[in-house]
């Protein structure tokens, strides 16, 4: 087999894996948009906030320590204990539920019935507020996140592909784990929305707020639930990306990777987020591999958007999005 073809196969596999990581971020956007029509600009910052909270809890860090010390002249930094990863994840999930409640109680509830652009701007404000709170709460230094996920080359794939092609493929163990988790997450989300009472209520709210209210569904409860689920997805994305790069402010920028995925997959489809992620992941990696060297490289960021725009021209609602027909 020609060498370049073998390399291209490795690139495609890695593109698929990267696409899963993009899809993990995009999922959070889809959930909130689907249930409330809000494009949640703060989704990336929620991933940062969740990951910082997880590391802080695991390390037994005192939240707002700098503020406490500056105010009271104390020198407290940590509680002197560490928390096992699984328990810390559960506790972080609790914090994300609290955050969901606070967002609903103090922001979204006051904006019911407002134009989508107002709600969008509210999430911009929320993003910057959360960034500041996360900094104040846990400090801005780069933190190591280790919840026991494997990292590095998968030796089995390396050896197997070497035996077949004479060249061992590089696949990161972390990407494999991310793929499995993303698959489980999507299956769980689909099952939740199809087969549970709360899931059906969520879909009812998504279809028509007024109709859902008229049959006794609590909008408040559903929105808190949706923001909580989005918080959970943000936590999963934060763990995956935070394990790769350390937990730091730049985690909030992973939202940039989700936008072309959403444009391509549609804002209202969970499978769309996954398929969109895979197409973007493979597309940008293949383009960088084949064309990148001819144009000086660093094509991935802009090519993802070009790819999404091409899809938009032919399917404005995205691959799996709902086609909106307005009668006048």
């Amino acid at each position: 087999m020609p060498e370049q073809l073998v390399f291209a196969m490795e690139v495609i596999l890695n593109g698929l894996m990267a696409g899963v990581l993009y899809a993990l971020v995009a999922l959070g956007f889809v959930l909130i948009y689907k249930a409330s029509g809000i494009f949640n600009y703060a989704q990336g910052v929620m991933a940062l906030f969740a990951a910082m909270t997880l590391v802080g809890i695991m390390n037994g860090q005192v939240p707002f320590a700098h503020l406490i010390n500056a105010t009271f002249g104390t020198h407290v930094h940590d509680f002197g204990w560490t928390v096992p990863a699984l328990l810390a994840i559960l506790m972080t999930m609790g914090v994300m539920v609290l955050l969901a409640w606070a967002v609903q109680r103090f922001v979204m509830r006051h904006l019911v019935g407002q134009e989508p652009i107002i709600l969008f701007m509210a999430t911009i404000g929320l993003a910057y507020f959360l960034e500041g709170v996360a900094d104040l709460m846990w400090g801005s230094e780069i933190k190591t996140l280790d919840v026991g996920l494997p990292q590095g080359i998968n030796l089995w794939i390396d050896e197997s592909t070497f035996n077949i092609f004479g060249y061992g493929f590089f696949i990161d163990n972390l990407d494999i784990v991310a793929t499995v988790i993303a698959a489980l997450l999507v299956a769980a989300l689909v099952a939740f929305s199809q087969y549970t009472k709360q899931g059906r209520a969520m879909r009812a709210v998504a279809d028509d707020h007024q109709a859902a209210l008229s049959v006794g569904i609590s909008l408040n409860f559903i929105w808190i639930m949706v923001w909580s689920v989005a918080g959970f997805v943000a936590l999963v994305a934060g763990i995956m990306w935070g394990t790769k790069s350390g937990v730091q402010f730049s985690l909030s920028l992973i939202a940039l990777k989700a936008l072309p995925v959403l444009m391509l997959g549609g804002f209202t489809s969970i499978p769309g987020a996954i398929v969109g992620g895979l197409i973007i992941g493979v597309g940008e990696k293949l383009f960088e591999f084949a064309i990148g060297p001819l144009v000086g490289g660093a094509t991935e960021n802009w090519f993802a958007y070009v790819l999404a725009l091409i899809f938009l021209v032919f399917r404005p609602q995205g691959l799996f999005g709902e086609k909106i027909i307005e009668r006048v």
């Binding site: 900094d135 780069i142 590095g152 080359i153 590089f170 790069s245 730091q248 402010f249 920028l253 960021n301």
Partner: protein
């Protein structure tokens, strides 16, 4: 009653206002935003050294130092605003800590007659003091860094790099592209093959670049990164099992922030430097006594001795020594920014002077002149020990390729002089 009120008002004014004589040093810091993890330790070191001089020596030449901190968030517009809002306070020297801000400030400081110190960043050709009258980039610049890396590799390979493959992975920005021209010239001179691999901002996704490195199998990888790009690159290098001892970053890719997230896998990674690392210097005892223990540290005191803290401290040391020189030249203790510029231009850092300051072998020896605002371009190499979580200086501060770099600096500064109708001023 009127007299009492007037006296009270005057007292309040005197208490609230700045001291009549002080040495004003603006600190254009970035303690917030995506690069705060790098900005905080630098600023802590910069502030703490001046605090120590105030507490221990009563300032410099009997005049207290007043640091005016202004948050830029590493944002160029905010940096310029900080400059405009602080220059009226009698600012002696600006350390903008950003190449973007530097480019904006070069014409401004020249017009305002205030010196600018861009230590290890900024416009490389500003080394030519004949053209850039108010900008200083001693003790080393990016092109010195590129040459320092190649010189180090030459040493490692018995003086011969012909046939070797060197990859440069760089932040796809003006900063990241800085070393390319120098490395291209050096590749012609030494016969190595250079491959440049850009990474888009912010650099969280680098799989394509590292797959290419894995396919091409370069002998060495150099990195010009910043922020999250560094941590991801070190992790990806570990993932593909690239030998860490063959991976060398520029000084902005060589702090604890860049290697700690990768854990044990980062062991052996190297970085260029123009100052020493750690706390094993007498001055740190004074810092502990007069600043940290006294509760006067700029931050939480937890950054003391980190790479970027030491860099900030070194920047403060060089500013303080230039102030002393300016005081000596002008005969004034309370110097003006113009006198500070003259002091910087006459600065000489010897090993004896550094030892007196409690910083033996902390930085390279160098001298500044009218034509040379960049010092002697000596560069060292550090290496990360993951088990002990420490950086160590593994080489002396050694000369770089003045022949290649000098020609490039002459070319670039001549172009700047031509664009701005500047005459040489050092004849």
């Amino acid at each position: 009653m009127k007299l009492k009120l007037a006296t009270a008002a005057l007292s309040a004014l005197m208490a609230a206002g700045p001291a009549l004589a002080d040495l004003v040093i603006p600190d254009l810091s970035y303690r917030t935003g995506p690069y705060a993890a790098g900005g905080i330790p630098f600023s802590d070191g910069y502030n703490d050294y001046f605090t120590m001089l105030n507490e221990r020596d009563g300032g410099i030449g009997g005049v207290p130092i007043r640091v005016v901190e202004c948050e830029t968030g590493y944002n160029t517009e905010k940096g310029v605003e900080c400059y405009e809002s602080t220059k009226g306070e009698g600012a002696l020297v600006y350390q903008p800590l950003s190449t973007g801000i530097t480019y904006q400030l070069i014409p401004k400081v020249t017009a305002d007659n205030i010196p600018l110190h861009t230590m290890g960043y900024g416009r490389t050709s500003a080394k030519n003091g004949d053209v850039f009258s108010h900008t200083f980039n001693y003790p080393a610049n990016y092109w010195d860094g590129a040459s320092g890396a190649i010189n180090y590799l030459l040493e490692e390979n018995g003086g011969d790099l012909s046939g070797k493959k060197i990859a440069l992975i760089y932040h796809n920005s003006a900063y990241g592209k800085e070393p390319i021209r120098t490395l291209e010239e050096l590749s012609k001179k030494h016969g190595f093959e250079l491959a440049a691999l850009p990474v888009d901002h912010p650099g969280q996704e680098q799989k394509s670049q590292w797959l290419q490195i894995r396919r091409d199998r370069p002998d060495y990888v150099l990195m010009w990164g910043w922020g999250v790009m560094n941590q991801v690159a070190v992790q990806e290098a570990a993932n593909i099992r690239f030998p860490m001892e063959n991976f060398i970053g520029i000084w902005w890719s060589g702090s604890e922030n860049d290697v700690v997230p990768a854990g044990e896998a980062a062991n052996g990674y190297k970085a260029l430097t123009f100052h020493n690392v750690g706390t094993d210097f007498p001055v740190f005892d004074d810092l502990q006594q007069y600043v940290v223990d006294a509760g006067k540290a700029a931050g939480a005191g937890d950054q003391v001795g980190t790479v970027l803290y030491n860099r900030g401290l070194y920047a403060a040391v060089l500013a303080a020594e230039a102030i002393k020189k300016a005081q000596e030249l002008s005969g004034n203790a309370d110097i003006t920014p113009a006198e500070m510029r003259d002091g910087m231009e006459a600065l000489e850092m010897t090993e004896a002077k550094m030892a007196d300051l409690g910083l033996p072998n902390f930085g390279p020896t160098f001298s500044v002149s009218c034509t040379n605002h960049g010092g002697d371009a000596l560069v060292g190499v550090t290496q990360w020990d993951a088990a002990n979580k420490t950086w160590s200086l593994i080489s002396d501060f050694k000369p770089t390729d003045g022949e290649v770099i000098g020609a490039l600096i002459d070319e670039d500064s001549a172009a700047y002089a031509s664009e701005n109708n500047l005459e040489g001023r050092c004849n």
